[in-house]
């Protein structure tokens, strides 16, 4: 697909050069890449239309995403923590930035961002284009600054070319960096798991264990892990062990509302098999540990989620049910998504 576009662009370029006969007018065909909406997914976040992914915008964003120059000492890139093979997480309890500094929280997966309304575990970011600056300046992450980065990129002829292709001229501006990274992230869509193929009647079927897991899931989990994103994007305090770092308050630090204290966005369960450890600071190393915790009972709080309160602060599960739930959750793994091209 990409190749076709590339050849098409070159052909157009040659044609256009011949047509007007001037060397100066470089013309790159930079078509929009349509975001396909998988069956049953919610509608696109309007920001996708405001910053629609283009062929070269995405290529540039992908290059920036993997470029260690974004960090102060050129040691980490976005992809250092957001590793595609782990559904863009890093399998660490908390993210690790420059000089091995440990961040506040567990690295969130990057998938299906085009359909999300809130970003990060506390939902502090509503516009994906506003996110890249946060890790760039954060002391425990890249500890750099946007002008420092632009300075580094300006010396790289490859970037000059890519900025021309993506945006029409060589200017490397903060907004172009943010937009291209967001464009790349908008294209990261995971909707081809076994679960999806079963639901689309593409000839696959759940095993008996997966099917029972699905039924238990519908009964005991789907109130929060709802929609085809497997999250209702609400913020809830579910009584997990709390992060001892005094900076942590969950969504409470964003909204200033007591009912949001230690509340976090319901995580999507897509690719959950690949995103261990679990919890806002990686409290649980396995899915089994998470389910055991719910079964044994969670920590009470004034703002504990009402669904948990109504059920005696727990989600009772037999050992067999836990196994079946895990079998079902593994059907949400999308090996095409995590395979590095």
């Amino acid at each position: 697909m990409k190749k076709t576009f590339g050849i098409f662009a070159i052909v157009l370029l040659l044609l256009s050069c011949e047509a007007d006969g001037t060397e100066a007018s470089f013309f790159y065909d930079n078509p929009e890449i349509p975001i396909y909406i998988p069956k049953g997914f919610p509608e696109l976040n309007p920001s996708v239309k405001a910053n629609p992914p283009t062929l070269y915008g995405v290529e540039l964003g992908k290059k920036l995403f993997h470029d260690k120059k974004l960090s102060s000492n050129n040691s980490i890139s976005c992809a250092s923590c957001h590793q595609q093979s782990n559904a863009f997480t890093d399998n660490r309890p908390q993210a690790i930035g420059v000089h091995h500094r440990i961040g506040l929280r567990n690295t969130p997966p990057i998938q299906n961002m085009s359909f999300m309304r809130f970003y990060n575990w506390d939902g502090n970011i509503l516009l994906l284009e506003k996110q890249p600056l946060v890790p760039i300046v954060t002391h425990e992450e890249m500890d750099s600054s946007i002008l420092e980065i632009i300075d580094k990129l300006s010396n790289d002829p490859d970037y000059k070319k890519l900025f021309v292709k993506a945006f029409g001229d060589e200017e490397i501006s903060p907004q172009r960096i943010y937009n291209s990274i967001a464009q790349y992230e908008y294209t990261l869509i995971s909707a081809n798991s076994k679960y999806d193929r079963v639901m689309r009647n593409e000839g696959e079927a759940f095993t008996a264990s997966e099917l029972r897991g699905y039924q238990i899931f519908e009964q005991k989990c789907a109130a929060c892990h709802s929609t085809e994103l497997f999250t209702d994007q609400s913020f809830r305090n579910i009584g997990f062990p709390t992060n001892p770092n005094p900076d942590e308050a969950g969504r409470g630090r964003v909204t200033g509302k007591p009912e949001d204290y230690m509340s976090f966005r319901v995580p999507s369960l897509r690719n959950v098999e690949y995103t261990a450890p679990y919890g806002s600071f990686g409290q649980f190393s396995t899915l089994k540990e998470v389910l055991d915790y719910f079964d044994n009972g969670v920590i009470d709080a004034p703002n504990l989620d009402p669904i948990l309160k109504e059920n005696g602060n727990s989600i009772p599960l037999t050992e067999g049910e836990k196994e079946e739930l895990i079998a079902f959750m593994k059907t949400l793994s999308d090996a095409n998504f995590t395979a590095i091209e």
């Binding site: 509503l126 954060t138 308050a249 409470g252 909204t255 509302k257 204290y261």
Partner: protein, 291 residues
């Protein structure tokens, strides 16, 4: 920034000397110096570590002893009020020229010089404690100097996760056992005020301060100095809230940065910068105008 200020000082000195010798138009006379005097009630604040003997200790209305090791706040959106009530905005949309970080540990930061002020009499001043929402975006490209000042390692007036600036940063110790207190304020508002669709979440910690001058500041003949007192006694014993510090890990504990959570942060904000309605001065008052 320090270099910049030194340069400014040098320029002022040069101008002063020149003007003394020539008797011509006097640009220095079209300046106003804002001097920030950080106090506990009437006593100037001295910073100190946990067991410092020199640090100025204060007692709150609730009886809690406390002192600071670090005291910083951002001032922006300065408007002078002419004697007939007209407003003179001072680079209100340019953080590099119109905003500053007051840092008790750097005496040069306590004076902010406003230049090229039209000759005339001024009866009041307005300014913001913090940065107004539309400029609070860590835009290094637009305001490299303020970004550098606020973001410097020794200043840390950047609120990284909120992609904005810290408005107030107070570090210190409280109670007789010197428990740590760490109070940071900043906005988490998302979107644009007035635009219902985008203005969806977060708290606004920016406060607009409005002060009358006890005597008019006369610009043109001399360069007046306005001493603005910032009385940090108000932090815990304010016009809006009486606050008792507590340490712990619940939502109500407020002595450490988990005040980010809450209403708790806004209580500090309202005490320091006023509540935006009935109190438009918070901890600030004009101590003196020297013409």
């Amino acid at each position: 920034m320090k270099y910049y200020k030194n340069l400014l000082l040098f320029a002022i000195l040069t101008f002063t000397l020149l003007s003394c010798s020539s008797n011509d138009d006097n640009p220095v006379a079209n300046e106003i110096t804002l001097h920030f005097h950080n106090t506990f009630k009437d006593t100037g604040i001295v910073l100190g570590n946990a067991t410092s003997a020199e640090a100025t200790t204060n007692k709150s209305a609730a009886g809690q002893l406390h002192h600071f090791s670090e005291l910083k706040y951002a001032i922006s959106n300065i408007r002078l009020i002419g004697k007939n009530g007209e407003e003179f905005p001072y680079h209100i949309n340019d953080l590099d020229r119109g905003a500053t970080v007051i840092d008790q540990s750097k005496s040069e930061s306590l004076d902010f010089v406003l230049t090229n002020i039209p000759s005339g009499e001024y009866s009041g001043i307005k300014f913001g404690l913090g940065i107004k929402q539309e400029l609070n975006t860590l835009d290094e490209l637009r305001f490299p100097n303020f970004y550098a000042t606020a973001g410097a390692n020794d200043t840390e007036m950047m609120w990284e996760w909120g992609s904005g600036y810290r408005f107030v940063k107070l570090e210190g110790f409280y109670d007789t056992d010197h428990k740590q207190m760490s109070i940071h304020t900043g906005s988490t508002v998302t979107g644009t005020k007035g635009d219902e669709e985008s203005y969806t979440q977060g708290v606004d910690a920016y406060r607009d301060i409005s002060l009358n001058l006890p005597v008019n500041a006369t610009v043109g003949k001399n360069a007046p100095t306005i001493t603005i007192k910032a009385d940090f006694d108000k932090l815990l014993s304010g016009k809006t809230n009486t606050i008792i510090l507590s340490t712990g890990d619940s939502a109500e504990d407020n002595a450490t940065p988990n005040i980010h959570t809450a209403e708790a942060m806004l209580k500090f904000v309202d005490n320091l910068g006023g509540n935006g309605t009935s109190d438009l001065s918070g901890m600030f008052s004009v101590e003196e105008v020297i013409n």
